[in-house]
């Protein structure tokens, strides 16, 4: 106890999350590549610690439409996680997966939403399994839920979750590079107890 300051803990946590992000991205690459039918590379270039009140405009303008895929997490860690894509990347993936014209911008139908959910599910599950194997904790994700709406509205969900115990939120940027660059973002939202449990399992104690 009292080994590290809060700031040091946060810095270590960010580093660990970046590493987990990289491993998770590695796991997801094969699955996503075979779904999209072309070679891709995934990177985690950036982990951002930001103020909750700025989260609404973290990815793009508040009113721009984005795709949000949300999963609840249970067992040793309680909380939720979210994967976000800008609308252009969402259309690109749907068009590839559903065999539509590459420039199709029609509103997503049920099948399209289902395909996007599956992408989010694969990426989130890859990330969670990396987290589970590093911490030795059992982490079970729920089925995915999806929303296509204004960025600020979707991001109000993690903002509220983080807002309950602090003023900062962590965001992990993921880049998927194939014949098109897709920018995705992860947000992991552990409950306070689970956050402590993650840190303890990683050997970072306050």
């Amino acid at each position: 106890m009292g080994k590290f300051s809060l700031e040091e803990v946060n810095n270590m946590y960010v580093d660990v999350l970046r590493e987990i992000g990289n491993i998770g991205a590695g796991n997801a690459t094969t699955a996503i590549a075979s779904m999209l039918g072309n070679k891709i590379d995934m990177k985690v270039p950036n982990v951002k610690l930001m103020e909750v009140s700025n989260l609404g405009s973290a990815i793009c303008a508040e009113e721009d439409t984005i795709v949000g895929i949300f999963l609840e997490v249970q067992n040793d860690i309680e909380g939720s996680m979210m994967f976000l894509l800008d609308l252009e990347s969402g259309h690109y993936m749907v068009n590839k997966l559903m065999g539509k014209a590459p420039d199709c911008q029609d509103d997503f139908d049920e099948m399209d939403l289902s395909a996007l959910k599956e992408i989010g599910n694969i990426i989130a599950a890859s990330y969670l399994s990396a987290l589970a194997s590093l911490t030795g904790l059992v982490i079970s994700p729920s089925i995915p839920f999806i929303a296509v709406d204004m960025a600020a509205s979707i991001l109000s969900v993690p903002a509220i979750q983080f807002g309950q115990f602090g003023d900062n939120a962590l965001m992990i940027q993921t880049e998927i590079i194939g014949d098109f660059a897709i920018n995705g973002y992860f947000i992991l939202m552990p409950e306070q107890d689970s956050y402590d449990k993650i840190l303890t399992s990683l050997g970072i104690a306050m």
Binding site: E62, S153, A159, G163
Partner: protein, 161 residues
């Protein structure tokens, strides 16, 4: 030309005719407005959580319904609005991910909307219109020359309440 005043997340401000006060992309948060139709003074708070006493880290008063609504009231009264004439409108409180609900964020939108009603009743201020719940985001504008509250959502016609 009227000015548009922007209220961010966990933020509040006041506004006078002919100006407009807005907040963009309300999800599970609530945008609550006060308006005095005689002096045409209004204000808006965009709060995230229902109760500051349930949270350890509660420094930002605009983040919570209880502290945010009281602060907004103080500010509009200081600007010259009359408490007897004040009316309130609310929007937001959506459940962005339909079907989810294991975690306590699941129903936060409904709790946020309920908090507004309880607090307004306690303050003796009438809630005359609301557009809350459902599963979509809302951008809202209070037009201080008329008191009209505009609600915009993706793929839906503009609603005025």
């Amino acid at each position: 030309m009227e000015e548009v005043i922007k209220v961010g997340m966990a933020d509040l401000n006041i506004c006078k005719a002919p100006n407009i006060i807005t907040t963009l992309g309300l999800g599970s948060c609530i945008g609550l407005t006060f308006y005095d139709p005689v002096t045409k003074i209004g204000g808006m708070v965009h709060y995230m959580l229902p109760d500051s006493t349930q949270v350890r880290n509660n420094g930002n008063i605009a983040k919570f319904a209880d502290t945010g609504i009281r602060e907004l009231l103080k500010r509009v009264l200081a600007a010259g609005a009359s408490k007897q004439r004040l009316v309130a409108k609310i929007a937001g409180g959506a459940k962005m991910f339909e079907g989810s609900g294991l975690s306590n964020v699941g129903n936060i939108g409904a709790r946020n909307a309920e908090a507004a009603k309880v607090i307004l009743r306690g303050l003796g201020i009438r809630l005359i219109a609301e557009d809350t719940g459902l599963n979509y985001g809302r951008t809202v504008e209070l037009h201080c020359d008329t008191g009209d509250f505009y609600i915009k959502a993706v793929g839906k016609p503009i609603k005025i309440i």
